[in-house]
């Protein structure tokens, strides 16, 4: 369960936005635009993907590996509050002013993602409101689920 980091990432065909579960079923033009703005990135175990307070420049689609979302306090400098894995997305700070990351993200294993240019994609969504709405309808349940998870965590269920 506390598995040590795995070996190198598999050598596979280039990652495609259309293959990621988040984009499946969305408008093909939206997918094409996202693909145009995406570039593949790889992170080694322990490598920081984003840092709290830095500009939120990308929307990350995770394909391989595992990412720890961390918050910091004086007592706990690196508290992981969630992990994100293949098929999941990382972050919406690129969509919300002032476009700064609100947490740290660190690779727990060798991790492979597509990073979509946040500013350009935001502009593309604004320029095509119907696609933008479709995108937000896809993203909103993820935000709502994480909010609900946070509410349950606040109840400190295991401490009752």
């Amino acid at each position: 369960m506390n598995d040590p980091p795995h070996g190198p990432l598999p050598k596979e065909a280039p990652l495609r936005v259309a293959d990621h579960p988040f984009f499946q079923g969305l408008d093909s033009q939206l997918i094409q635009e996202a693909a145009r703005l995406a570039r593949e990135r790889r992170f080694d175990t322990g490598e920081m993907i984003v840092r709290d307070g830095d500009p939120a420049a990308s929307f990350y689609l995770v394909y391989h590996g595992k990412v720890a979302l961390e918050v910091a306090s004086a007592e706990k400098p690196h508290l992981t509050i969630q992990t994100v894995g293949p098929g999941e997305v990382l972050g919406w700070s690129w969509l919300v002013p002032p476009y700064l990351w609100r947490l740290d993200a660190r690779a727990l294993k060798p991790t492979q993602v597509l990073a979509i240019d946040g500013k350009a994609f935001r502009e593309a969504l604004a320029a095509h409101p119907e696609q933008g709405y479709q995108f937000l309808v896809r993203l909103l349940p993820i935000i709502a689920q994480r909010l609900e998870n946070t509410q349950i965590q606040l109840l400190d269920i295991h401490g009752l």
Binding site: N2, I81, Q82, T83, N149, I152, L155, I157, H158, L160
Partner: protein, 287 residues
């Protein structure tokens, strides 16, 4: 000495509420506040047969007794196993009873998990915190007749990695090819490479044939409420979802009323209930 005026009086049958003496055979610290005790009858006899999901009343003489779930292998006729969290005066006394000392045990009580209904089906076991011990006998039972069941998916969550019980055994279970055992914690430091997030967040990644699956849930009520909702959303019928409830049990035989839950007594009618039977009570505040 008996006389004609006072013939020998037969010994009374043991009172149903009288505890039997059991000797603590071993004591294993699971976490900072949780201990597993192995107990055997002081007279050397066999233990009372128990079903997975039932509980005993464990009595520390001079202190009091508490309801503790059976958490050992149900096929073991020589000992009972209880995993106890130090959550108060009585459970602290139970957890701290050293090997060689005697405690009182009465039981087993209650209705357990309907393992017989799992034959031929996919099975989802979900445990939060100290909800794993009452489900462990189910897992022993399933794995001892592994060929009779479909997929077995276990999701276990705890507050932090330090709060995980049966750590070594879970690592062994995770090596089995015919069992999927997911572990997650609510929060962790950088020494933890496993999953972080609520147990409910693992449900989308859990594999089962919804129309032919059965789910057993045990843990904090709020966790079971959301987990049952999400499993139902994945297609498991309410009548195939079972929950183990916890209330303050005193008599354990449905007389005193301490454990009343809606129209049910948890000690007598439960602790394992079908979701469709208690769903409305779960939604009732301050019940």
């Amino acid at each position: 000495m008996a006389s004609e005026l006072h013939p020998p009086h037969p010994l009374p049958a043991p009172h149903p509420l009288a505890p039997a003496p059991y000797v603590v055979r071993s004591q294993t610290a699971e976490t900072g506040d949780t201990t597993t005790l192995v107990l055997s009858p002081a007279d050397g006899g066999p233990v009372h047969p128990a079903l997975p999901g039932q509980f005993n009343m464990v009595y520390v003489f001079g202190v009091g007794e508490a309801a503790i779930s059976l958490s050992g292998d149900p096929s073991d006729a020589t000992a009972v196993v209880h995993t106890v969290r130090n959550a108060g005066r009585i459970t602290a006394a139970i957890a701290q009873t050293p090997p060689g000392q005697t405690v009182g045990v009465r039981g087993p009580y209650g209705r357990g998990w309907p393992v017989d209904q799992a034959t031929g089906r996919d099975i989802v076991l979900m445990a939060g915190g100290l909800g794993l011990p009452p489900l462990r006998p189910v897992l022993y039972e399933l794995l001892s007749h592994r060929e009779q069941y479909g997929r077995i998916e276990v999701i276990y969550g705890a507050r932090t990695p330090k709060d995980l019980v049966y750590y070594g055994q879970i690592q062994q279970w995770r090596q089995r090819p015919n069992l999927r055992f997911q572990v997650t914690v609510d929060a962790a430091d950088r020494d933890w490479y496993g999953d972080v997030g609520l147990v409910t967040a693992r449900i989308p990644d859990t594999r089962f044939e919804a129309g032919n699956a059965i789910a057993f849930l045990c843990g904090p009520e709020i966790m079971m409420k959301y987990a049952a909702r999400d499993l139902e959303a994945r297609g498991i019928p309410r009548a195939s979802i079972w929950l183990s409830m916890e209330r303050n049990m005193k008599c354990a035989v449905g007389v005193c009323g301490h454990c009343q839950f809606g129209p049910e007594f948890v000690c007598r009618d439960g602790p394992v209930f079908r979701y469709d039977v208690i769903r409305d009570w779960l939604a009732t505040r301050e019940l």
